[in-house]
Symmetry: C2
Subunit: 473 residues, 2 copies
Amino acid sequence: MNPSIERICEQILETATPKPDERKRVQRLAEKLRQRVAVEAERAGLEAEVKIGGSVAKDTWLSGEADIDVFMLVPTSLGRERLEKDCLDVAKKAVEGWPWTERYAEHPYLEAHVEGTRVNVVPCYRVKRGEWVSAADRTPFHTEYVKKKLAEKNLRDEIRLLKRFMRGVGVYGAEIRIGGFSGYLCELLVLNYRSFLGTLKAVSGWRRGHVIDVESFYRGRSEEIRKLFDAPLIVVDPVDKNRNVAAAVSDDRLGEFIAASRLFLGKPRETFFYPPETVPFEASDFRERLRARGTDIILMTFDGVDVVPDVLWGQLYRSLRSLKGLLRQYDFSVMRASAWSDEKTMNVLLFELESKDLSASRKHVGPPVDSKEAANFLEKHVGAESTVSGPWVEDGRWMIETKRKCADAVLLLREKLRVGGRDVGVASKLAESVRTSLKLLANEEIVDLCSSNPGFAKFLTGYLIGRPRWLHS
Amino acid sequence: MNPSIERICEQILETATPKPDERKRVQRLAEKLRQRVAVEAERAGLEAEVKIGGSVAKDTWLSGEADIDVFMLVPTSLGRERLEKDCLDVAKKAVEGWPWTERYAEHPYLEAHVEGTRVNVVPCYRVKRGEWVSAADRTPFHTEYVKKKLAEKNLRDEIRLLKRFMRGVGVYGAEIRIGGFSGYLCELLVLNYRSFLGTLKAVSGWRRGHVIDVESFYRGRSEEIRKLFDAPLIVVDPVDKNRNVAAAVSDDRLGEFIAASRLFLGKPRETFFYPPETVPFEASDFRERLRARGTDIILMTFDGVDVVPDVLWGQLYRSLRSLKGLLRQYDFSVMRASAWSDEKTMNVLLFELESKDLSASRKHVGPPVDSKEAANFLEKHVGAESTVSGPWVEDGRWMIETKRKCADAVLLLREKLRVGGRDVGVASKLAESVRTSLKLLANEEIVDLCSSNPGFAKFLTGYLIGRPRWLHS
C-alpha cells in the first residue's frame, strides 16, 4: 500500500521546517547583518531604514535554504545614481571579509556568502504604496502583506510544503534560467487556496491564462486583466494592481506545475519533493544512446561572457529561439533545443534535428498560374542553374524542384555564425564570444566534452533521458 | 524579330486543315462505313438510324487525326442488354476484316482501325432532348448543335487552331489519362468567345471554378451553378443544363491551359502547337541526372491488367493518390508522384521523395497536460520500449521522442503491398497484379528498365526534365 498523502506531507514537513537550532542561527545572523548595514549606513551619513525582508522575515523559508534579504530603505531625495553607488558601498563595507558579488538585473544589489548562508543586501526607496520608483520598492510591502495575513491564519506549514514541492518538480524560482514561481507567488497561492493540497487541487484544473486576483481589484473584469497582462499565468499583486506577480512564469514551467500537481494527487510520492539526482552516463552509455536514437545532435559551445545570470540566460534563450528559427527556415526539422551554461567559462546551445543532412534539392511552390508573379517566376527559374526539374503546373501553381542553398546544418551554422551571428538573432552580449570561440560538435563528438566537464555531462544526461526527474513509470 | 501572332496562326492552319484529298478520302470512308452499319442493322432486323457524328460530321477535325464516329440510334424499346449485345454484333459484322476492340467505359462501343483511320461505332438511343437513357444519347444533339451554330458563322478555322493548340500544350482529350478538354468542349469555347485568340485572351483571365453558361440557362445564378457542379471548370452543356461539359478537366490541365494561353499571348511561337518530341536520355545521362538531383525516386512496377484505358488510368491515379498519402502519413516528404503504363503489359507508379530514409526517431506531440488523455498517454509511453526520450512538457503538452515504426520508404511499400495493398488504397483491379508481380526499384536501379523499355525511358526523361514541352527559357 502506498503511504497516504497526509503521511507524506508530515514527513516532508519534518525535513522542510527549520529546527530550533537552525532557526536561531539564521535569525542571529540576519540580525547581525541588519545591524552591520545600519551602522555602515549611519557612518556614511545615509538616512536608511534597514530591515530584514523576504522569507526569513516571514518565517516561510525552507530548512537548509535560508536566504537572508537585508533591505535598505532610503528617501527618494537620494537620486538613482546615489542609490546604486552609495548604498552598494555601504553594503560592501557591511559584508567586508566575506565573499560578495554585485548583482544587477532589474535593480542593483549585493550578494554575499556569510557563514554558509547567502545574504542579499538590497537598496530601495521608502515610498508610499503605489508610488514606486525603483523595482525593489514593492518588496517590503510584499513582506508586510504576507506577515499580516499569516498573523490572521498560520499557513506556514502549507507554504513550506508548496515551496518544497515546487523545488522538487523544478518550477521554483523566478530567475530567467528557471522561469518559475517566486517565493512570494508561492505564498500568495497558499493564502488564496488556504492549503498545500487545496492549491494542488486548484492547479490541477488550471488552463493557460488562469487569473488569480487575491484582493479582487478587478472583480468581474477578468477579460480586462487578460488584455492587461497577457501571460501564461496571471496573479494580480495585492500591493499593486498593475503588476502580475507571475510574470516570470513560462509556459513550460506552468505546464510542468499543472502536470505534477495532477500526478501527485493521483499517486502521491515523496519523490515529487525530493526527486533523485541525475547520475551522469558513462562515455560508453552516451555513445550507445546517441547512436540508438538515430537523430542528429548539434552542439554550439562558446566561452563565458561577463554578465549577471539573468542577463546571460535571457540572451542564451533568445539566441536559442532565433537559431532554432534559422534552422527551420532552411527546412531542418528541429525536434528540441536546449541551453546550458556554467555561468562562468562556457556556454552551450544544443539542437536536436531529425537529420543534419537534407536532400540536395527541394520542391519550391511558386505563384498561381493566373497571377501577375507567374511571368517573373518563369523568367527566373526556367533553365536556371539552380532548377533541377520543372517548372510544372500543380494545384494551379507553378512548381519547381530546386537545389538547396544549404543542405548541411553544421555548415549552415558555421557560415551564419562566422562573424558572431547578430543578423541571425544571436543576442548582443553573446555575439563577440560566438565570433571568437565558437565550436560546433555533432553527435559522438560531444562525448569528449562530457568527459572533461561533469556539469555538462549531467545536463546532457538529463537532456537525453528527457523526462522530469519526478516523473515515474 | 518574332513572327506575328497572325502569321503563326496562318502557318498552323495550313497544316491543321485537311487538304481536299484527305477530306475526300475521310468522307468517303465515313460514308462507306455508315452504309455498312446500316446494311448490317437491317439484316439483323434492327430498327436503327445510322449517322456520322463527331468532328468529321462537323468538319472540325485536324488533318491527320480524323476519327470517324458512326452512331446507331435505336428506339428505347430495345432494352439495355440488346443495345449492348445486338448493336455491337452489328458493328462487328460491319467492320469484319479490319482489326477492332470492344470498348466499355461509360457506354459500350466498338473501335476499329480501317485503312489507317480509327472508326468508332457507337450505339445509343434515339430520344427526345432531355430524356436521356444511355450516356451516349446526348452526342447526336451535340453534333447538331455545333453544326447549326457553325452554319450561322463559320468558325472552323478558329476551332482547328484551338484544337491544335490544346493538342500541342497537352490538354486535349477528355480521357482519364489526360483529364483534358474534349473536342466538343473546345468547339463550345470558340462558339462562346468567337475566335481562337479571343478564347486564349479569356482563358488568360480564368480562375479555378470559372463558369461558362453558353445558353444562359442560369442567368445571374452562377453561385448555384458552382454548388451544382463543383469542378475546376464548369461549362454548362447547351443541350442539357444538368451536365458540365468540362467535368473531365482536371486541376492540372486547367492550370496548364491558363498558363500556356498567357505565355503564348505574351510570346507567340509555333512550338505551342507542335512542341518538340522528348528525346530519351542515354543510360549515362539518367545516372548523372538522378545523382545530381539528390532526391530518392522509388518505382513500383507491376504487370498489365485487362481493363479498358479509362478504367486503367482511373485505377492508376487513384492508387497513386492513396500511396502518396500513405508515404506522407509515415512522414516521408513526397515531392511529386506520377503514373505510367503501356496499357498492355506494364504499369508503373513513381514517387520522388526528399529522402527514402528518415531518422530512426521522431518527435510525437501528446495531449495537453490539463486534458483527460494525459494520464493514458503517460501510462502508455513512460518507460516504454519505443520511447527514446521524455515525456517532457512543451507548449502545454506532453511530448516524447519515439522510435519510428518504419523509417525506410521501400520497406514500407514492400510491407504494405505484400498482399496487394487494397487496405492502403491500391484500386481493386490492380491489387492482384500488385500482389503477384510487384517490383520496387530505387534510383539507379531504374536505369536498366529504361534500356529495355523505350516508352518508359521517354516518360522518365519527361519526368526528370519536369517541364511542359512547350515551355521555353
